[in-house]
């Protein structure tokens, strides 16, 4: 069972990400957070195996969440699921410690391709 935290300010997109994770395979135990601040609290309470986060969110953005986690010493595997996948953003994500960036729109195959190395 893989314990994932899905963070997105859109409830609809969280549902789609969760559905796509299940379509990609594996057994998931999934929690949800509606922004970076909620996610930070959820991780402090109970660190998941992997975090999938939107980038652009109110309260705390995804990149601020990742930087805060690393600053607090959390090495939680972290990836972005975001509508913008520019080289600039990929570079910024990698520099902050993200393992992957999935650009929307996405497919179950795109999830499988990036999740498998994380789980290896």
């Amino acid at each position: 069972m893989i314990r994932a935290l899905v963070t997105d300010d859109s409830r609809v997109m969280r549902q789609i990400v969760i559905r796509t994770l299940r379509q990609a395979g594996y057994e998931w135990e999934i929690r949800e957070a509606a922004n970076g601040a909620e996610a930070l609290e959820a991780i402090r309470e109970d660190e998941p195996d992997v975090v999938l986060s939107d980038w652009n969110m109110p309260e705390m953005t995804g990149i601020d969440l990742l930087r805060r986690l690393r600053a607090e010493g959390y090495g939680t595997p972290f990836g972005f699921v975001t509508s913008e996948g520019s080289p600039e953003m990929r570079q910024t994500a990698e520099a902050a410690g993200a393992l992957f960036l999935i650009a929307k729109p996405f497919t179950p195959e795109a999830f499988r391709d990036v999740i498998e190395p994380v789980l290896a």
């Binding site: 300010d9 859109s10 409830r11 609809v12 997109m13 549902q15 789609i16 559905r19 652009n56 969110m57 109110p58 975001t82 509508s83 913008e84 996948g85 520019s86 600039e88 650009a103 929307k104 729109p105 996405f106 497919t107």
Partner: protein, 161 residues
């Protein structure tokens, strides 16, 4: 930095990719032929670009079509009732995906705003591109706007360079 054109072709390809991957059923996104019908209960969703290029990507359709888009996006059945919150959320996310992918093509750094949904789009800006599209015979219009005077000057051409 080499210039990247964002014109009708790029917008159409991005929108089609979003619909193909995320909105199963309802048919492929096609070019709309002929005059657009009057929209009943229009809804508009947009995301703003901030930075050296300021503007917005805007999707417009009518409420019934947006309900069907939300239902398809969520993988619900054809008879499912879509609540107000999910309707606005889903339409905003479609605009967010189209706008985010368009921003990736711009040769400028910058940020993307959060999606917004309203009956009418903001009134300011200069129209750069307008695509009239058909999703299963129902009209969806995508427009690209600039909201600063420098970029608006580029609208004299057919593409944003």
């Amino acid at each position: 930095m080499s210039p990247i054109a964002v014109g009708e072709r790029e917008i159409f390809e991005i929108a089609r990719e979003v619909f193909d991957a995320m909105i199963p059923g309802g048919g492929a996104l096609e070019e709309w032929h002929g005059d657009l019908p009057v929209q009943h209960e229009p809804l508009t969703a947009w995301v703003a670009f901030h930075g050296p290029f300021s503007g917005r990507a805007v999707l417009s359709s009518e409420r019934g079509t947006v309900d069907d888009l939300a239902s398809a996006l969520l993988g619900l059945g054809p008879d499912a009732v879509v609540g107000d919150e999910d309707r606005l959320d889903a339409f905003g996310e479609i605009a967010n995906m189209v706008g985010g992918n368009l921003k990736s093509l711009l040769p400028f750094p910058g940020t993307l705003g959060l999606p917004e949904v309203a009956a009418e789009p903001p009134a300011d800006g200069v129209l750069l591109e307008k695509l009239r599209l058909s999703w299963g015979g129902r009209p969806i219009v995508i427009t690209l706007w600039s909201t600063d005077s420098a970029a608006a000057a580029l609208s004299e051409g057919s593409t944003l360079q």
